[in-house]
C-alpha cells in the first residue's frame, strides 16, 4: 500500500463535510475501518458517490436478489451495462432502462437529453447497435405552468438527442398526476441488436493493459450527480444547478460508431460508459468485475477547464465519455480508430495485479482503497417496512357508492371527458417530435399498443413497450407491480409478440421511511411473481429512490420495459379496427365479475378527482393464459386487430380501436346488453386486467372459441365493426345506448394535449431556450 496524504488545499474532513457528502456517521466509520486511517477529501468524494443508492443499491440489492433473472433466452442478466437476450437466428438484443428524474426536474431539456445519451451508451457498450429508444414519463397536472415547462422541455430534450444520434424513438407512456408535480419521472430505455458472438462485457482484464479515456473532455459538470439522484428534491436543489450536464448528441453519434468499431476490432478487452459518478464508478466497477486492481492518473485525463482537482476529475459527470481497457501494445490501433471519428483518446491508467484501487496525480497517490472492496464492500440496509394506515384506508374506501355527477347522465360527456384526459389522450404531440422511422426497421411506431421493429437478416421482429400504473402501485404495491408487468406483456402480445424478458426502473420515495420501503419491497415481490408466471426474466434495471418533494413521495412507480419476440413478420398485428363486419371479441377476464370495481381507476381520478378503492386484481396466471390464447389466434391467422384494456377500461379501449388512427376512423356496434344489470360506468370504465379486444372475421369465430377453450380463457362476442358508420354505438339493455360520433371522440382524444400545449408560454420558452440554431 502507498502513502496517501491529504492534498494541499483540500478541505479538512469534518462531521459537517461528511454529512454534506451524504454519509452517515456509521458509514464514515466503515470507511475509516476499510482504509485503516482517515480518508482524504478525494477518497471521501469517491465513497460518497459509490455508496450512493444509485451506485451501490444499498437499500435495494437484497430485494432485487429475489427477482427471477434466468431463462434459456438470457445471455446476460443484471450486473452489466445492459441485459442481453437471444432472439434466435444468432441474433441477440441488449436493452435497459434508466432514470434521469432529478436532473430533469432542475433542467428538463438537458436532463432528459442526457438521460437518453446515458442509456444509449449502456447499450452500445455491450456491442449492440441501438435500434430503438423508448421512454416513460410522469408529470404533475398540465394545469400548472411549471409542469407544462417540464413536459415541453423533456419531450424536446428526448427528441433532439435521439433524432440527432439517429435512433428512432418508437414507444413510451406519459402519465399526468399531481403526485409527480415537483418530481417528474423521466425514464429512458434503449434497445440494440447484435450478433450473439459480438457480446462484450465491461470486465477489466489482463495485467498491464492500458486504461484509456475516450470521447469528450472532462469538465466540472454534474459533479456528484449520483448522490444528487440519491437525495430528496428540496429548495436547496435549486442551488445545485451548476451540476447541470449538457448533452452533445453529435459527439455521442461519433462515440457510438467508434465504439462499435473498437469492439469489433479486437483491440480492446472492455468498454464502459462513464455514467453516474463518472470515472470513479466506471473504473471501480470494471476492476471489481475483473477482480483486478487499477491505477488511474488524473493528471492524464483530458480536461475542459484548467485547475481541476482530482476530486473534480473523478466525480465529474461530463457526458459522452467512455472508459476502455485496451490490449497492451494495441494503443495506437485504438487511437487510429478514434481519430477516424475525430475523437481523442488518452491513456490514463493501467490494470495492475496488486489488489488496490489507486488514484494518482502525477506521482503522488491521492486516493487508494484496498482490494476490489470498493464496490462490493458497501453498506447494506434493510430498513423497517410498514404500510401507511392512510393508504390502507384509501384502499378500503367503498368507491361504488360514489354518486354519479349530473353530467354523467349523458354517457357521451363521460366518454369524451375520459378520452381527453391527458393521461389517456393521444401522445402524438410528443412523439411527432421524435423521429420514429430512421434506420428503417419500424414496422409499428408510436400510436399502437407496442412498437414493432424488424430484425434484419431474419423473418422475425421484436415488440417493445414501457408500462406502469403508479396509482395501482400506490394503492396496492404488490398487485400494482404485477399489473405493470402484465400490462407490458399484454401490449407486446397485442402486436403479435411473445413476452421474452424485462428491464425495470424502480422510481420510489426515500427508503428510510417505512411506508416507502414497504412499497419498494412489496412491488419487487409483485414484479417477481408476475415475471415468474409469464416466464419473462429480469435482465437489468435501475433504482431511483428519493423521488420526493416537499409534498411527499411520488406514487411508487416501477416502470417495466418489456421485450417481446415475433417469430414471423406475418404475425404483426395492428391495434385499430379496419375490416368491415369483423366480429369484436373480448378475450380474458369475464365482464361483470366482481373484478369490475372502479377502484384506482382513471375514471375516478378524472371524473371524480378521487384516488381510492382497491385497484383491479391482477392474476398473472390468467394473463399468461390470455396472452397464450391471443398469440395462438394470431399465429393461426384469425386476428385482424388486437388492443388491450388498460387506463380507462373497456370504454376507452373500444374508442381507441375506433379513432386512434385519425385518418381512418372506423365505427362499430357494440352490445353489452348481456350485462345490463351492471352499471354502465362500471362496465365501461373499470380497469379489470387481462382483457383484450380482438377483431376476427366471422368465419374464424368457431376456431377462436376452440382455441380459447383450450387455454381456459373466456371469449365474449360483443359487437361488429362497421366501417361505414360514423358512430361508435354501445347498447346496454333495452332503450339504453351510447351513440358516440367518431369525429367527437377523435377530437377529444387527439386535440386534448395540443390544445393545452400549442401556443402556451412554456412551450414557447422551451423552443426559444433550447434553440440550437436560431435562423
Amino acid at each position: 500500500m502507498s502513502n496517501v496524504a491529504p492534498r494541499p488545499g483540500d478541505p479538512r474532513i469534518t462531521p459537517a463535510l461528511v454529512a454534506e457528502h451524504g454519509l452517515t456517521e456509521d458509514e464514515f466509520q466503515r470507511l475509516v475501518r476499510m482504509l485503516g486511517r482517515e480518508p482524504t477529501f478525494t477518497e471521501l468524494g469517491i465513497i460518497s458517490a459509490l455508496w450512493s443508492e444509485h451506485c451501490s443499491y444499498k437499500h435495494s440489492r437484497p430485494l432485487l436478489r429475489t427477482l427471477p433473472t434466468e431463462g434459456p433466452q438470457v445471455l446476460q442478466g443484471p450486473g452489466e451495462n445492459a441485459g442481453v437476450v437471444s432472439v434466435g437466428d444468432g441474433l441477440a438484443v441488449a436493452f435497459k432502462i434508466e432514470s434521469h428524474n432529478h436532473p430533469s426536474a432542475v433542467e428538463p431539456y438537458q436532463g432528459a437529453a442526457t438521460g437518453v445519451g446515458g442509456i444509449l451508451r449502456d447499450v452500445f457498450t455491450m456491442g449492440a447497435r441501438p435500434i430503438a429508444m423508448l421512454n416513460s414519463l410522469r408529470f404533475g397536472s398540465l394545469d400548472s405552468a411549471r409542469v407544462r415547462y417540464l413536459f415541453a422541455g423533456v419531450v424536446k430534450g428526448i427528441g433532439d438527442y435521439g433524432n440527432c444520434v439517429g435512433i428512432p424513438t418508437v414507444a413510451g407512456e406519459i402519465v399526468f398526476d399531481d403526485a409527480y408535480e415537483t418530481n417528474p419521472l423521466v425514464n429512458a430505455m434503449c434497445v440494440g441488436v447484435m450478433k450473439e458472438s459480438e457480446l462484450i462485457t465491461a470486465k477489466a482484464e489482463g495485467i498491464g493493459n492500458p486504461i484509456i479515456a475516450v470521447g469528450a473532455r472532462t469538465g466540472r459538470d454534474g459533479i456528484h450527480g449520483a448522490s444528487f439522484a440519491s437525495e430528496d428534491l428540496s429548495e436547496a436543489s435549486d442551488a445545485k444547478r451548476p451540476r447541470v450536464q449538457v448533452g452533445d448528441p453529435f459527439t455521442e453519434k461519433l462515440l457510438l460508431e467508434a465504439s462499435l468499431e473498437l469492439i469489433r476490432s479486437g483491440h480492446i478487452v472492455a468498454i464502459q460508459d462513464m455514467g453516474a459518478a463518472g470515472l470513479t464508478s466506471s473504473s471501480a466497477e470494471m476492476a471489481e468485475r475483473g477482480e483486478v486492481g487499477v491505477t488511474i492518473d488524473v493528471s492524464r485525463v483530458p480536461v475542459r477547464e484548467s485547475g481541476m482537482t482530482p476530486y473534480e476529475i473523478l466525480l465529474s459527470e461530463s457526458q459522452e465519455r467512455m472508459l476502455v481497457v485496451a490490449k497492451r501494445g494495441h494503443e495506437n490501433a485504438v487511437a487510429e480508430i478514434l481519430q477516424r471519428w475525430d475523437l481523442t483518446a488518452a491513456v490514463i491508467g493501467e490494470v495492475i495485479a496488486e489488489p488496490v484501487y489507486r488514484v494518482t496525480e502525477g506521482d503522488t497517490v491521492v486516493a487508494e482503497f484496498p482490494g476490489s472492496r470498493l464496490v462490493t464492500d458497501c453498506p447494506r440496509y434493510s430498513p423497517e417496512a410498514r404500510e401507511s394506515d392512510a393508504i390502507v384506508r384509501l384502499r378500503e374506501t367503498d368507491v361504488a357508492s360514489i354518486p354519479e355527477l349530473p353530467e354523467e347522465a349523458d354517457p357521451l360527456w363521460t366518454l369524451e371527458r375520459m378520452l381527453s384526459s391527458p393521461t389517456i389522450a393521444s401522445k402524438a404531440w410528443a412523439y411527432r417530435q421524435y423521429d420514429s422511422t430512421v434506420r428503417t426497421n419500424t414496422v409499428i411506431g408510436p400510436g399502437g399498443d407496442a412498437a414493432v421493429l424488424r430484425l434484419r437478416g431474419s423473418n422475425r421482429a421484436i415488440a417493445v413497450k414501457t408500462d406502469c400504473n403508479g396509482r395501482y402501485v400506490y394503492l396496492s404495491p404488490r398487485n400494482g407491480a404485477r399489473a405493470a408487468v402484465c400490462e407490458a406483456a399484454r401490449n407486446v402480445a397485442c402486436a403479435g409478440a411473445r413476452p421474452l424478458a424485462i428491464t425495470n426502473c424502480l422510481n420510489f420515495g426515500n427508503p428510510r421511511r417505512p411506508e416507502n420501503f414497504f412499497q419498494l419491497s412489496e412491488a419487487i415481490a409483485g414484479m417477481g411473481e408476475a415475471c415468474r408466471a409469464l416466464g419473462t426474466p429480469v435482465t437489468g434495471g435501475n433504482v431511483s429512490l428519493y423521488n420526493e418533494s416537499p409534498s411527499g413521495a411520488v406514487y411508487p412507480t416501477p416502470v417495466i420495459g418489456m421485450l417481446g419476440l415475433i417469430d414471423d413478420l406475418s404475425h404483426v398485428t395492428p391495434a385499430t379496427w379496419s375490416e368491415d363486419d369483423a366480429v369484436i371479441v373480448l378475450l380474458g377476464e369475464i365482464l361483470g365479475e366482481p373484478a369490475d370495481g372502479l377502484g384506482g381507476s382513471e375514471y375516478l381520478a378524472r371524473i371524480h378527482g378521487t384516488v381510492a378503492g382497491a385497484p383491479p386484481k391482477c392474476d398473472p396466471e390468467l394473463e399468461r393464459d390470455t396472452i397464450a390464447c391471443l398469440l395462438e389466434c394470431i399465429r393461426a391467422g384469425h386476428v385482424r386487430s388486437a388492443h388491450d384494456c388498460s387506463d380507462g377500461g373497456l370504454g376507452v379501449a373500444l374508442a381507441e380501436c375506433a379513432i386512434a388512427n385519425r385518418s381512418a376512423v372506423v365505427g362499430a356496434e357494440v352490445d353489452l346488453s348481456a350485462w345490463a344489470d351492471v352499471p354502465l360506468r362500471e362496465l365501461l370504465y373499470n380497469e379489470a386486467q387481462a382483457r383484450i379486444i380482438v377483431t376476427v372475421p366471422e368465419s374464424s369465430l368457431a376456431e377462436i372459441a376452440r382455441i380459447a377453450v383450450k387455454h381456459m380463457v373466456p371469449p365474449m362476442v360483443i359487437g361488429r365493426v362497421r366501417t361505414g358508420s360514423g358512430n361508435l354505438e354501445i347498447k346496454h339493455g333495452k332503450n339504453r345506448a351510447l351513440v358516440a360520433p367518431l369525429d367527437r371522440l377523435a377530437a377529444a382524444y387527439h386535440d386534448a394535449i395540443p390544445a393545452i400545449m400549442e401556443g402556451s408560454v412554456e412551450s414557447a420558452a422551451v423552443l426559444e431556450q433550447a434553440a440550437v440554431t436560431t435562423v
Binding site: D221, V244, R304, E305, A765
Partner: protein
C-alpha cells in the same frame, strides 16, 4: 400620465461559463479546418432585439430584464445581458 414611446432593447443571451458548449466546440473545429488556426474558442448565444413601449428607458429595460428572467433566458444554463436600449 406620462407619454409612452417605443424603445428598442437588445439583449445577449449566452451559455453559462463552465457548461459544455458543443456548438461552440464544433464550430471551433470547423474554423480550424477551414484554415482559421488562430481561433481559440467560439461561443454561440442568442441576440434578441425587442421593441416595446414604455414611459422611459429605465422602465423599458426593467421590463426586458423581467422578460429574460421569465421567458427568454434559461435560468439554469444561460446568462443574459442588456446591451443597448435606444428610443425609436
Amino acid at each position: 400620465m406620462k407619454q409612452h414611446r417605443v424603445y428598442r432593447i437588445a439583449v445577449q443571451i449566452i451559455p453559462r461559463a463552465g457548461l459544455l458548449d458543443p456548438q461552440g466546440n464544433t464550430i471551433t473545429g470547423a474554423l480550424h479546418s477551414l484554415g482559421f488556426k488562430h481561433v481559440k474558442s467560439v461561443h454561440v448565444g442568442r441576440h434578441i432585439v425587442i421593441e416595446t413601449e414604455a414611459p422611459d428607458a429605465l422602465q423599458a429595460e426593467t421590463a426586458v430584464q423581467e422578460m429574460c428572467e421569465k421567458l427568454l433566458a434559461n435560468p439554469v444554463t444561460e446568462d443574459f445581458e442588456i446591451t443597448s436600449a435606444v428610443p425609436l
